[in-house]
């Protein structure tokens, strides 16, 4: 019995080391915060849009769409921009943009300068819609299915690998279903 007790520390350590091993190899990015909104309906919103109209949740219904939160003051957004352009022009993915905490004039300049992958751009100057979607910064992207439910959340700028291996297959699958 005593011998068993003496073996307890090493046994506990082996379990701990196993956890560390899993965390190292199979663990996700510790910075990533998984969104609780995945599989939930997208939050309702109604924003004025850049072209003078409005952008609301209803506009997304019936098709598989992407919502991309961005801002003119966001440097990684510029890095992600070419990927979004390709998605919009070559893959014909409907992308709706929401300018987060950005002044209208700055957003206009951003779009004029780089081009727009967006069907419409909502202006969330106060950032309240961003909080509704649970974002903590920009850029963040949400995949919304035909029924209006959020199916995937990317909390960081999209990468080419992600688009190829994860996003496009998901979009195809959702388009079929």
């Amino acid at each position: 019995m005593r011998r068993l007790l003496f073996s307890l520390p090493v046994a506990l350590f082996v379990v701990l080391a196993a956890y560390f091993g899993f965390a190292l190899f199979a663990g996700g990015d510790p910075h990533a915060i998984p969104s609780p909104l995945v599989t939930q309906p997208a939050p309702a919103f109604n924003l004025a849009s850049l072209d003078g109209e409005s952008l609301s949740r209803e506009a997304l219904a019936g098709q598989v769409t992407l919502i991309n939160f961005f801002a003119s003051w966001c440097v990684p957004c510029r890095a992600e921009h070419p990927l979004l352009m390709r998605l919009a022009e070559q893959e014909h993915v409907p992308i709706y943009g929401i300018a987060y905490k950005d002044k209208k004039a700055d957003t206009e300049r951003f779009i004029t300068g780089l081009g727009s992958p967006y069907r419409r751009i909502g202006l969330d100057e106060g950032g309240r819609v961003g909080v509704e979607f649970g974002i903590t910064g920009v850029p963040e992207t949400f995949v919304i299915d035909k029924a209006g439910r959020i199916r995937r959340h990317y909390g960081a700028p999209l990468t080419a690998d992600q688009v190829r291996n994860d996003l496009l297959p998901l979009l195809r699958e959702l388009a079929r279903g």
């Binding site: 915060i33 969104s35 609780p36 905490k101 309240r128 909080v131 649970g134 903590t136």
Partner: protein, 154 residues
């Protein structure tokens, strides 16, 4: 009324630390403001390291502070505000993990470790002390055996 005042004082005993609330954010109603501060202290600033939104000066912290004050002013309950934020950001936003089956190990672990350790220590101490008792006196046959052995030793 009194319990609302006691709550922040009680929490202040636990968690009195630095604060970042801007003058412009504060609610005019002191009771609501006190509730807001108490709730903020237990909400995580998601773009900082281990700071609460009450402590942090990040933009997101500011937004969340304003948001929760608006909801409180609109009549939401404390739990309602917390639930709203959890529904958007997940459990991660709460600095105090809820006590539920998923967190029993966390909340009760220290107590369990202490109890097991205390039991172990007590058993150990008893073992150490038990040997302290003087041995029972020899009975007749043992005394004769002892005498014989002593004679043999010479």
């Amino acid at each position: 009324m009194k319990q609302f005042l006691l709550l922040p004082i009680f929490l202040a005993a636990f968690t009195a630390r630095a604060l970042a609330v801007e003058p412009g954010e504060r609610l005019t109603d002191p009771v609501l403001e006190a509730r807001a501060r108490a709730i903020s202290k237990e909400l995580r600033c998601l773009v900082c390291q281990n700071e609460s939104i009450d402590d942090s000066n990040a933009a997101l912290a500011h937004d969340l502070r304003v948001l929760l004050r608006e909801r409180l002013a609109a009549g939401d309950s404390d739990q309602g505000v917390r639930d709203f934020l959890v529904s958007r950001y997940g459990q991660f936003v709460l600095l105090r993990p809820p006590i539920e089956p998923a967190t029993y190990v966390l909340w009760f672990g220290p107590f369990v470790v202490l109890t097991l350790g205390a039991i172990g220590s007590w058993l150990y101490l008893r073992r150490r002390a038990a040997a302290e008792r003087p041995p029972a006196p020899l009975d007749e046959s043992e005394r004769r055996r002892l005498a014989r052995l002593m004679k043999e030793e010479g």
